[in-house]
Amino acid sequence: MDSVFHKRRHSGPPVSRTERVFDGVIVICTLIVSFSMLYPLLFVLGRSFSSPDTVNLSGMSVLPKKWSLVGYSFVLKSSFIWTGYLNTIVRTLLGTAIGLAVSIGYAYPLSKKNLPGRNVLTFMLILTMFASGGLVPEYILIKNLGLFDTIWSMVLPSAMKAFNVVIIRNFFMSIPEELDEAAEIDGCSAIGTLFNIILPVSTPIIATISLWMIVQHWNSWFDCLLYMRDPNRFVLQIVLRRIIFESSVEMTGAVSAEQQVSQEVVKYATIIVATAPILMVYPFIQKYFVKGIMMGSLKG
């Protein structure tokens, strides 16, 4: 009777006691890991809704002792946070558009096996994965090109990544050649084929690569630190850096001593405001991120 009971609960073979203990241990492990991933974020979220006088009370609870929106009211009023947001959105959109265009433009011809000079062009690309000029030569280049304090200094140097191009090329190569040939016989030009035939069937990889680019641009800060001098051109991450690490009053607009008491809450609120867009969208598009990694790892 006992075994019948087992069979009804589990469709597989009867589960032994050690099996169940093993499963329990695994579940507990993953619960601990998940908690340690979530707790820091929940903690910051809770503190961002605290009142300035209770925000620094120590304790483990993620819930605020006294609810208040003071932090967010400062964030909403700070012009630097708003311009930072705008600058980040502009660089993300422009950077992703340019990055996609350049990468696809380089990847598509490389997917043609009989393209003369294909090996040289591939080598030229792959070499950049292993050898780079490093910080100083790149800094001098941007300086000499006169790109300081322009959005191009943040958009252009990271436009094309060899890894991305290789993944796109591999995807293009996996598309049956007959599709291409049929289009060519119908009188489609190479560019026409790319737009009408290849890109429509490549949406999974294009989605993945664009999402990678969006996240990368959203989170970048070092290029802005290097090349941007005008605070009105700072991206969100740099404004955030100023607020969190330098407790910059200039950035939050908390001028009077009374207002500076709120500085701590403002830090938490800024973190949430800067991170929320990515974290809210991410669970829904997670599978695209992962798909790209798999494509890259299995074929590369």
Binding site: P13, T18, F22, I26, V27, T30, V33, M37, L38, P40, L41, F43, V44, N56, S58, M60, V102, S103, G105, Y106, Y108, P109, L110, K112, L115, P116, M124, T128, A131, G133, G134, L135, V136, P137, E138, I140, L141, N144, P157, M160, S189, A190, I191, L194, V215, W218, N219, S220, Q237, L240, F245, K267, I278, L279, Y282, Q286, F289, V290, M294, S297
Partner: protein, 320 residues
Amino acid sequence: MLNPTKAVKPVKASGSKSAHRIGGRYWNKYKSLYLLMLPGILFLIIFRYIPLYGITIAFKDFQVKKGILGSDWVGLEHFIYLFGNRSFWSVLGNTVIMSFYKMIFGFPAPIILALVINELKNVRYKKLVQTFTYMPHFISWVVVAGIFLQLLSPGTGPINFVIKSFGMDPVYFLGDPRYFRGTMVFTGIWKSVGWDSVIYIAALTGIDTGLYEAATIDGCTRLKRIWYITIPSIMPIIVMMLIMRSGKLIEDNFDQIFNFLNDGVLSVGDVISTYVYRLGIEKMKYSYATAVDVFRNVVSFVLVFLTNTIAKKAGEEGLW
């Protein structure tokens, strides 16, 4: 009667003509493709190969006014200065020690996580765990540093709240040289363990389930199945990742360290990339900072090469 020479000649002529015609057609056919690549080619030349040429300033006395081409060659002067500089050796030591810790603790972590996730039976719970563990990957280091600054704060942070509630003194995780490295290892794992496990999870899903069934029939326990089937199956990927990682023994995570670094922990926390930034950008010692970078690149290439050779000798598949 056929004249062989006459017969050959026209063929030859038409052959070269058609070759020419094909060449022209090649150009016409591929012109638009090359045009499509042109922005990419220009990009590579301007933003990759010009800076690559720029590393020659490591061998020059670079003057901003003279430019890279016009500056005078000084041979290995910067390298000689570098090797005689105590601060360089300390920074190099910090980098290697930190990477070593990150290798020991950070390399197995995603493998273990992947193995654990792989053992989960409930598909929805599995997806949820994956979502949570991948999440930190999408947060910038600026934000992560900001979060941990608050969490680890000796006065108000929850971690020290727990430590203090046990009657111990608060720990200055980010301000005490004794704890800084450990904190970097932990935050590094926190941010990347989930995402790094993706590649192993991908490999795990590719294992033939027949193997497990056969092992179960033979009476293998779960642990034995993991040890004798799962781990050997993903060994090639583990070795490949190890090789790629070995080159990073002399690299460091600038985004991470730079955001956590403070004067109190400079003695253990200053690493090559932060050193290069401070000297190259802040103090404008362009040539010297580039020499440090060049040194690092050479060492990292040698390391990858060596590990690859060792892996091949040991019978594993290498990178090349």
